[in-house]
Symmetry: C2
Subunit: 233 residues, 2 copies
DNA sequence: AATATAGTGTGTATTTTTTACACTAAGTAA
DNA sequence: TTACTTAGTGTAAAAAATACACACTATATT
């Protein structure tokens, strides 16, 4: 006995939730759609997966084509498969997210390969418009994911410039977690992880006492957090 | 401008990793395939998603059809989309897992709706054969997921009979985490969660001192673990 | 030169959580 | 009655989390 797979034209898609942090605000990258359905609406960068590409590769390609952002590594967080989530048919979409350093990626243009997006814009979470399709829901789940993850793994460094102050780091945490943290306890905890390198350099251009700059030590981070989360003996 | 979605015959599938605990062993539910490809191989219960059904519904239906297990709520853990994961074409599969109480579900028969599976068998993790497709990888990720999750959320109760002893619970943790735990500390911690009801009843049929039985208090559990994981002030 | 301003940077005591560790009690089997 | 097997229990020490306030320093302003 043999099963023949039905013919198919892959109708699965990827949607990307790309977080950035700029001017003290958390932002995500949205595109303005240039095609129906939802023409002229704002949406997460997302498109159909090609026949011959893996999901991870598709995510990277699609993000590039729609926003010009190149070589971004993303993680899956959830797959959305409600029957009516797309008005033209059944489309299952895999949600990917990334947190990236916004500096240098401020000006974005969709790659001129498609005309699918008019433009890509960093949008503060506070100003999010109603999004196309079920993208509000997809965004919500991505945000839950990072909020949850950051509370047990210091993942936020990806969002900051290469050199940052502890106060900047703390602000970022406060924005993601949506609550104020205690300065002394925060510093103690972050420095105790041992994944920050203190630099011989200070903040510049501020009209008050300049703060020390720090760098994130990727190697120590990897060593620390690839280990299992402990349950103890 | 308008995009027409390509026609499609949904070629996405669901694969289920169902954990059970029996005779002191962790087991998963495997089917013996009755169709090509991989006819006669062992595989995770999994099949194609229908046009008009959500992923969650598909998961439940497929599990029922292939194993006879009815009404099991499962969670997604990852979506697998490598290009060549299926020998007959591009199939993206969404991984679902559940931990269930094995008692009463020991004897399983595929529902006589399909002839896709010859039988469904609880297989100890220690005796897993090489599985069809990339199911080894899918299983591995599911196992990582529960191992990780149990270290910050006491999810293991689902695996035990309704009434259980603390020693049974501890054994289960030890099996999942693959390390010995300290009896006194384990009890202290579990009882402190406040999600166990001590019963006026003891174990029966053992040839040594009978242990107290406990029940899992779902309401208190829900109250406790829907709250955010804390970062502190 | 003096002053105002705004954020930097630091320590300690308390509480909570985690860890380490070993013996007696209770029930069954012979 | 004795031997055997698992149940059940407490305490001290260490580590982590929390609560809390003031002096310092760089710049801008007068």
């Amino acid at each position: 006995m043999e099963t023949i797979l039905p013919k198919f034209d892959s109708v699965f898609s990827i949607d990307c939730v790309i977080f950035g942090f700029d001017e003290g605000e958390l932002k995500i990258l949205l595109i303005e759609r240039n095609v129906e359905p939802f023409k002229d609406w704002w949406a997460l960068p997302g498109y159909l997966v090609e026949q011959e590409e893996s999901l991870d590769n598709a995510a990277e390609r699609i993000l590039y084509e729609l926003t010009g952002l190149k070589g971004i590594y993303m993680d899956q967080f959830y797959t959305f498969g409600d029957v009516n989530r797309h008005p033209q048919g059944r489309v299952i979409t895999v949600g990917y997210y990334a947190m990236i350093r916004l500096s240098g990626n401020k000006d974005l243009k969709p790659a001129p390969i498609t005309n699918y997006a008019k433009r890509a814009v960093w949008t503060p979470l506070g100003d999010l418009p109603k999004l196309a399709f079920d993208h509000d829901k997809i965004f919500g789940r991505a945000f839950d994911k990072i909020r949850n993850k950051i509370s047990y793994q210091p993942i936020a460094f990806e969002l900051l410039p290469e050199k940052f102050t502890l106060t900047q780091l703390q602000h970022l945490y406060e924005v993601i977690l949506n609550k104020k943290l205690d300065k002394r306890n925060f510093r103690k905890k972050m420095l105790n992880y041992g994944i920050l390198k203190e630099l011989d350099e200070k903040q510049k251009g501020v009209s008050y006492r300049a703060a020390k700059l720090y760098k994130f030590d990727k190697r120590k981070y990897a060593r620390l957090f690839q280990k299992e989360l402990s349950f103890g003996k």
